[in-house]
C-alpha cells in the first residue's frame, strides 16, 4: 500500500505584513512590495495585494508561490463567473469561507499553503475584512494585520478606530495605514519602504499605484555613543 504523501513545506520567498482596515463606505488593505528569501531582500516590486473582482480584494503574507497557486484557482472561479454572466459574482464572505476550507483541508493533510490571507471587500454594501492563516484559523475584525503588523500595527489601528467609534473616513484610513507601514518599516527587518494599496468602495475596487514612505530619521543625529 502506498504511503500517503506527507509534506510540510519550508516557505521560500515570503512576504511580510499585510494590513487591513475598514472605513465608512469601504475597506482597504496594504502590503509592501518585497519578497524576502530568508533575510535577503530578493524581489522588490512584488505585488502582494490583488483585485479579485469589483467587490473583493485579497492580500497575502507568507510563501509567494503558494499565494500564486491560490490566486490561479481564485481567478479560474472568477472567470467562470464572468462566463456564466448571470450577475452573480464572488462576494468577499464567500471567498473567505472557501479559502478557510481550502487552507484547513491542506493543513489537515500536512501539506499547508504557507500563507496568511487577508480578504476584504463590500458584502451587501457593508465592509468585510477577514483573515485566514495556514492552519485554517479564520476570523473577521474591523482592522487586522499579519506578521509583525499583528503586534505593531493592530494596536494603533484599534486605538484609532475606537477613538472614532469605528467610523472613520477613507482619508483617515489611508493616513493610519501609512503611519503603520512606516512603523513596520522602522521595526520589521523584512519590510520595504514601498507599498501598494487595494481598496474597495461602492464605486468598485482597484489596486493603486505603489506609494513610497516618507520616513523620519532625524532622531539619529541626536544620538551618539551608547551611554
Amino acid at each position: 500500500m502506498e504511503h500517503p504523501k506527507q509534506q510540510t513545506q519550508n516557505p521560500m520567498v515570503t512576504g511580510t505584513s499585510v494590513l487591513g482596515i475598514q472605513f465608512d463606505g469601504g475597506v482597504l488593505i496594504a502590503a509592501d512590495l518585497l519578497g524576502s528569501y530568508g533575510s535577503m531582500a530578493q524581489m522588490r516590486q512584488l505585488q502582494r495585494v490583488f483585485k479579485v473582482n469589483e467587490k473583493t480584494v485579497i492580500g497575502a503574507s507568507g510563501d509567494y508561490s503558494d499565494y500564486q497557486f491560490l490566486l490561479e484557482k481564485i481567478m479560474q472561479k472568477v472567470n467562470q463567473d464572468n462566463c456564466l454572466n448571470d450577475g452573480y459574482v464572488y462576494k468577499p464572505k464567500q471567498l473567505f469561507s472557501w479559502c478557510t476550507r481550502v487552507l484547513y483541508n491542506r493543513r489537515s493533510n500536512f501539506d499547508p499553503l504557507w500563507n496568511r490571507l487577508v480578504i476584504a471587500g463590500l458584502e451587501n454594501e457593508q465592509p468585510f475584512l477577514g483573515c485566514v492563516d495556514l492552519l485554517g484559523n479564520a476570523y473577521q475584525a474591523p482592522c487586522m494585520a499579519t506578521g509583525y503588523g499583528n503586534y505593531l500595527a493592530v494596536p494603533i489601528m484599534r486605538e484609532f478606530l475606537e477613538k472614532h467609534n469605528n467610523r472613520i473616513t477613507e482619508a483617515q484610513a489611508r493616513d493610519v495605514i501609512d503611519r503603520c507601514m512606516k512603523l513596520l518599516y522602522y521595526r520589521d527587518g523584512r519590510a520595504y519602504d514601498k507599498y501598494s494599496i487595494a481598496i474597495v468602495t461602492r464605486e468598485g475596487s482597484r489596486v493603486e499605484e505603489c506609494k513610497e514612505l516618507q520616513t523620519n530619521w532625524s532622531v539619529a543625529s541626536q544620538i551618539s555613543s551608547y551611554d
Partner: protein, 220 residues
C-alpha cells in the same frame, strides 16, 4: 572498497552534481542578454569546468539552470518537449511566457522533491525580450534583470548600481559580463568561463569568454 565507518568518504563520491552557479538574464533595447558561468561541482570537486548552463528550449527561448544539475536538465528536457509539440500544434513560435509557466508548474508541483531554480529568457514577437524567474519554491515573476545562483549575492549590488532598462546591447553586455566575473571571483561554486547569448528578433548570437580573458578587478 570504502566500507568501514572510520574512513571518511570524500565529498565528491557521494555528493550530488550541483550547478553552484551564477546566472544572469537582462532585458535591453531589442532583446535579452543571458550569461552564466561554466562550473559544475560535486561537493568541492569541479566535475565539469566548461559546462553549458544556457539550455535552448526553443529557437529564441533559453533556460538558465541552477541547483541540482540532474533536476534542471530533466525539467529543461520536459519543457522543451512540450514546447516542440505546442509549436507543431499552433504553427507558430512559442511564447517565453508559456515556456516559463511550464517550468513553473513542474517546479511548483514537485517542490519538495526537486532542487531547481531556473530563469527562462528569450524573445517572442508578442512582448519582445522577456526574463522570467522561477526560483526553488515554484513562483514565477517577470523581471527586467535578474541574477541567481550561489554567486548572485556577490554581484547583486553591482547590478543594482549600474543596470538601467533599455540600454544598448554593448552597454548591457559589458554590465552582465562584469557581474558574472565578479561573482566568479568571489564564489567558490562558480568559475571557469562566461558563456553568454544575445537573443533578439534577428536571431541568437552565442559566445564564450574564456577564463583567461575575464575582466579582473581589485584583488588585494
Amino acid at each position: 572498497m570504502i566500507a568501514t565507518s572510520d574512513i571518511t568518504i570524500p565529498d565528491w563520491i557521494k555528493e550530488e552534481h550541483k550547478t553552484g552557479t551564477t546566472i544572469v538574464a537582462a532585458e535591453f533595447n531589442g532583446g535579452v542578454i543571458i550569461a552564466a558561468d561554466s562550473r559544475t561541482t560535486t561537493g568541492a570537486y569541479v566535475a565539469n569546468r566548461v559546462t553549458d548552463k544556457i539550455t535552448p528550449l526553443a529557437d529564441r527561448i533559453f533556460c538558465l539552470r541552477s541547483g541540482s544539475a540532474a533536476d534542471t536538465q530533466a525539467i529543461a528536457d520536459i519543457v522543451k518537449y512540450h514546447l516542440e509539440f505546442h509549436e507543431m500544434e499552433t504553427g507558430s513560435s512559442p511564447l517565453v511566457n508559456t515556456a516559463a509557466h511550464l517550468a513553473k508548474s513542474i517546479i511548483y508541483n514537485n517542490k519538495e522533491r526537486l532542487l531547481a531554480s531556473v530563469m527562462v529568457a528569450g524573445w517572442d514577437s508578442y512582448k519582445g525580450g522577456q526574463v522570467y524567474v522561477v526560483p526553488i519554491s515554484g513562483m514565477i515573476v517577470r523581471k527586467s534583470i535578474y541574477i541567481s545562483g550561489s554567486g548572485s549575492i556577490y554581484a547583486m549590488g553591482y547590478l543594482d548600481a549600474f543596470y538601467k532598462p533599455n540600454m544598448e546591447k554593448n552597454e548591457c553586455l559589458e554590465i552582465v559580463k562584469n557581474a558574472v566575473a565578479m561573482a566568479i571571483a568571489r564564489d567558490g561554486s562558480s568559475g571557469g568561463c562566461i558563456r553568454f547569448a544575445v537573443v533578439t528578433d534577428k536571431g541568437v548570437e552565442r559566445n564564450v569568454i574564456l577564463n583567461t580573458e575575464l575582466p579582473r578587478f581589485y584583488e588585494n
